[in-house]
Symmetry: C2
Subunit: 238 residues, 2 copies
């Protein structure tokens, strides 16, 4: 955790003595009275917080807020709903990279049981997003949407964005050659067992280019990180 | 697991009925007699294996071996020895990407207890590498080395390789602008708490360029994947 996220703006905060964030500040960051750390408001500004006191009544932070809120990447990631453990990693990494929109669809090769996981039926998915943003030392969280299938998701596409689907098997070119002039990106990832023939047809009907990251088969969260990194590298951000 | 790795070359293999690989073929890949899957020899060729039988005596595979062994990436990743959980992810991802050499050093901001983990005192680290290669559907495993500190590691550098250290705080340029002409790469990652001032001096003495991946703070395994992806993207591989 490189930043601590709060839900509501205040000039100062009191964390209960045994609040996990207070313990993190003490035991992992090894910080105490007088030290400074980053805090932030979800989808709002960051600030530098000074530790004013740390005693049985709690840990007190006084915040000097930044003026501006950092924009997120103009990216929509569309992923086949994966196993919950993979979804946890995708949620965290998407927030770490600052992905603006993260859409999941039920893929033909996925399993419907994935949607019943406690990841989705509790607020755990929100916590994963928060952890990803806190890792990045940023405040923005991806907007999450769920779709019944790929076609339903593609009806909602923002046509401003360059459309790429990652595919190990039927891609025509490496990703880097297809995103040179793309200021905004829609990046579609298959499910863990890959795209079905019908899903590939649907992608082509919506003018997606199929791109590869060599012939190596990457985990879903790694493919997302690699794809975003190639695009950000080509654009000189990374 | 997209490929099953074996240690010794044979024209056919018998997996015990309850061997984890036999169960994976049956229960995850949903494959049976007549189906084909990829197998490989560690640091050797891949092959297509046909399932000849699957019964109480075991699961029988007959292999048609490829002629050539795929080369690995001409990359040495040098990482501060991280928490064991992070090391597990680094090992797996380095193998998935096909990193040729993976070196760990005890960093000034790391903790010496990390080296006593069962990850390193048992053969678990080798299993993590194997899983990474099996994920990629490739056979090569990174060569692993451990060093007492950064200076000891840098004495062993292969000077053919372009030298880059990732650094959120004191980098002078994005990575993509520094690796355009690099056919071979040494990529240094700090420990989880970053480089110490002395370590930065050591890197500069060895002519490392400090590169960033924007201001976002990435996990170690994500930084490695992102850095390699930027380089492979700039070179048109990804």
């Amino acid at each position: 955790m490189n930043l601590i996220l709060f839900d509501h703006p205040q000039p100062s905060y009191r964390l209960a003595h045994d609040d996990p964030r207070a313990r993190h500040i003490r035991d992992v960051l090894h910080m105490g009275v007088g030290d400074e750390l980053f805090v932030g408001l979800i989808n709002g500004p960051r600030g530098k917080a000074a530790i004013l006191a740390d005693n049985a009544q709690g840990l007190w932070l006084e915040v000097d807020w930044e003026k501006d809120t950092e924009p997120m990447l103009d990216v929509c990631v569309i992923a086949g709903l994966p196993r919950p453990q993979t979804a946890r990693d995708l949620l965290r990494e998407a927030a770490t990279f600052g992905v603006k929109e993260l859409w999941f669809f039920k893929s033909e090769k996925g399993e419907s049981s994935y949607a019943q996981s406690s990841l989705w039926t509790t607020d755990e998915w929100q916590k994963r997003l928060r952890h990803g943003a806190e890792q990045a030392c940023c405040t923005g969280l991806p907007q999450l949407r769920h779709f019944e299938n790929l076609s339903e998701a593609l009806k909602e596409l923002d046509e401003r964005r360059h459309k790429i689907a990652l595919d190990v098997y039927e891609a025509t070119a490496p990703l880097s050659t297809l995103v040179k002039d793309a200021p905004a990106l829609t990046l579609a990832l298959g499910s863990e067992r890959g795209w079905s023939p019908a899903e590939r047809d649907t992608l082509r009907e919506h003018a997606f280019a199929l791109a590869h990251l060599s012939h190596r088969v990457l985990r879903a969260e790694t493919a997302m990180a690699a794809g975003l990194s190639v695009w950000l590298g080509v654009r000189g951000v990374f």
